[in-house]
């Protein structure tokens, strides 16, 4: 258990190496760039290895830069004080990824929010219902770069 064995298993099972992520001001962070279809296995591994505290799910829409939708999952190991960033990229045309809400219940609300704002289809999520936004904004995926809000002033 711990980061060492987690990094080793990540390399062994999924063939991804830990990279330093110095952009996190808060704490020492390692980044793993994984394939989207591995997310459930990685989440299970994270939980087994003691990365039990979920921080943030942050999707970034890189479509104007010619890339897809990047998903960043931030986790922390409370004992070791090490953070892990799981990064994966899904195509914007068909944004689909497995839900990991049953492994980390904290993600249930976060996935629901990102579904609503980005239109990411979290497969297996029990209640992908409108959460924060107004009914008129449903299906417009407001957080995507393709959505331009109507300006309030000219």
């Amino acid at each position: 258990m711990g980061f060492e064995s987690f990094a080793k298993k990540m390399e062994m099972y999924f063939g991804v190496k830990a990279e330093e992520y110095p952009q996190n001001r808060v704490a020492k962070t390692y980044m793993f760039k994984i394939q989207p279809h591995h997310i459930r296995e990685v989440a299970k591994l994270l939980k087994e290895e003691g990365f039990n505290f979920f921080h943030t799910l942050s999707p970034v829409d890189y479509s104007p830069k010619g890339r897809g939708l990047e998903l960043n999952y931030f986790f922390e190991s409370i004992e070791e004080r090490i953070w892990v960033l799981i990064r994966t990229e899904i195509p914007l045309e068909n944004p689909e990824i497995d839900s990991i809400h049953d492994i980390f219940p904290a993600l249930e609300a976060c996935e629901r929010e990102e579904w609503e704002k980005f239109g990411i289809n979290f497969k297996g999520h029990p209640r992908l219902k409108p959460l924060l936004l107004d009914d008129t904004l449903q299906g417009k995926w407001v957080q995507r770069k393709s959505y331009i809000p109507e300006p309030h002033r000219k």
Partner: protein, 375 residues
């Protein structure tokens, strides 16, 4: 009689034998949020949160702002403690631009952040009493809060939504009168605090209503990623100020308030005692204020492409930003991960099994701000 006034279309709803109660949006204790409650007599069977009535989608708005004037949007995450959220924005932007602010600015930012925390916690305590239908503590803490607001008003010109911290420093150079007002506020707090504590802590009815109610076990804190006073009241020693010090928090001597019980009363005590710790920090910062006349560093208009992650311990828990820059004058994407949004989901786990009367106390003890719940 005016005809339109009679139209209330919904008949008394029924779902099986349970009564479904819409606790909110128009409810004295819920704030702008709906909590759907399934009731069996007075007993709560199931609870469902329905937030989203004050959503502004700040994340999208931030993409249309420059690095500096995004402060105005960021501070509106929650108006009660606006300073912590701006501090985090400033830290994130400085991380992106690789800028380090001088020590005196860091100390003054600590002062501002702690003032924000005190102001917010005072209202929190008043609100927890308010959930029991007694307004006296609320009035008392508001009177005390006024001294801190005087300081903020004299320094920045605004009582709330101060925009006092900007990327690269603080907005104005603090004057001697500002510090005098702050000292007065601290003295006033210390003078009144013993009386307040006597009334607040040893209140038998409050203990009767709060003790043993809404217990959050330690495991649930990890499962739901709960933050701030809610996590600390359940025995999780997690305070970003102590754990990952920022803005010179390592220079100050304070203790992280942790309670093991995890019930509503523990959460109340954590909020109450954190005010004392904040007062301690402010006094140390006032004494040990380093010399320095540079209060703001020039920030570049455009910041090089990259990303930054930043988190600070805000009044309601850790508030975390993931900011992405593409080399422009503003953020390409900013994700705001707010503590109230994480903490509110604990309600669905802990409220069932309690009486309807306890819903107000549990909800107040979760210390939610609707601004950062919806963003």
């Amino acid at each position: 009689m005016y005809k339109g006034a009679q139209i209330i279309t919904q008949p008394v709803g029924k779902e099986g034998d349970l009564m479904v109660l819409n606790w909110g949006v128009q409810h004295p204790a819920s704030g702008p949020m709906r909590i759907k409650v399934w009731l069996d007599g007075e007993k709560i069977v199931k609870v469902e949160n329905d937030p989203g009535y004050v959503t502004r989608n700040l994340e999208k708005m931030l993409e249309y702002r420059t690095w500096e004037n995004a402060v105005v949007n960021v501070e509106r995450i929650c108006f009660i403690d606006d300073l912590g959220t701006i501090l985090n924005w400033a830290l994130a932007v400085e991380k992106l631009a690789d800028v380090e602010v001088p020590k005196n600015v860091q100390y003054f930012r600590v002062i501002l952040a702690e003032v924000g925390r005190i102001v917010s916690h005072l209202i929190g305590i008043g609100g927890m009493f308010g959930a029991l239908g007694v307004a006296t503590p609320m009035m008392w803490v508001l009177a005390l809060r006024e001294y801190y607001l005087d300081f903020l008003e004299h320094y920045s010109g605004y009582r709330i939504s101060t925009a006092a911290i900007v990327p690269g420093g603080v907005r104005f150079e603090p004057k001697k009168e500002d510090f005098d007002l702050l000292r007065k506020a601290v003295e006033e707090t210390e003078r009144r605090w013993d009386d307040y504590k006597e009334v607040f802590i040893d209140n038998p009815t409050l203990v009767e209503r709060y003790k043993g109610i809404g217990i959050i076990p330690k495991e649930l804190v990890f499962e739901l990623g709960l933050r701030g006073p809610v996590a600390r009241a359940s025995g999780v020693d997690y305070d970003l100020r102590k754990r990952y010090p920022y803005s010179s928090y390592e220079d100050f001597d304070f203790k992280v308030v942790v309670k093991e019980e995890g019930d509503a009363y523990a959460r109340f005590l954590v909020v109450l005692e954190e005010i004392e710790e904040s007062v301690k920090i402010i006094k140390q910062a006032l004494e040990g204020m380093p010399e320095g006349d540079k209060w703001k560093i020039r920030m570049p208009k455009k910041i090089k492409a990259g990303e930054a992650y930043s988190a600070v311990e805000w009044a309601r828990g850790g508030i975390e930003y993931h900011v992405v820059s593409d080399g422009g004058t503003g953020a390409y994407r900013a994700k705001i991960s707010a503590p109230s949004f994480m903490n509110i989901w604990a309600l669905e786990y802990i409220a069932p099994g309690h009486k309807l009367a306890d819903l107000a106390t549990i909800f107040a003890s979760l210390y939610i701000c609707h601004g950062d719940l919806d963003r």
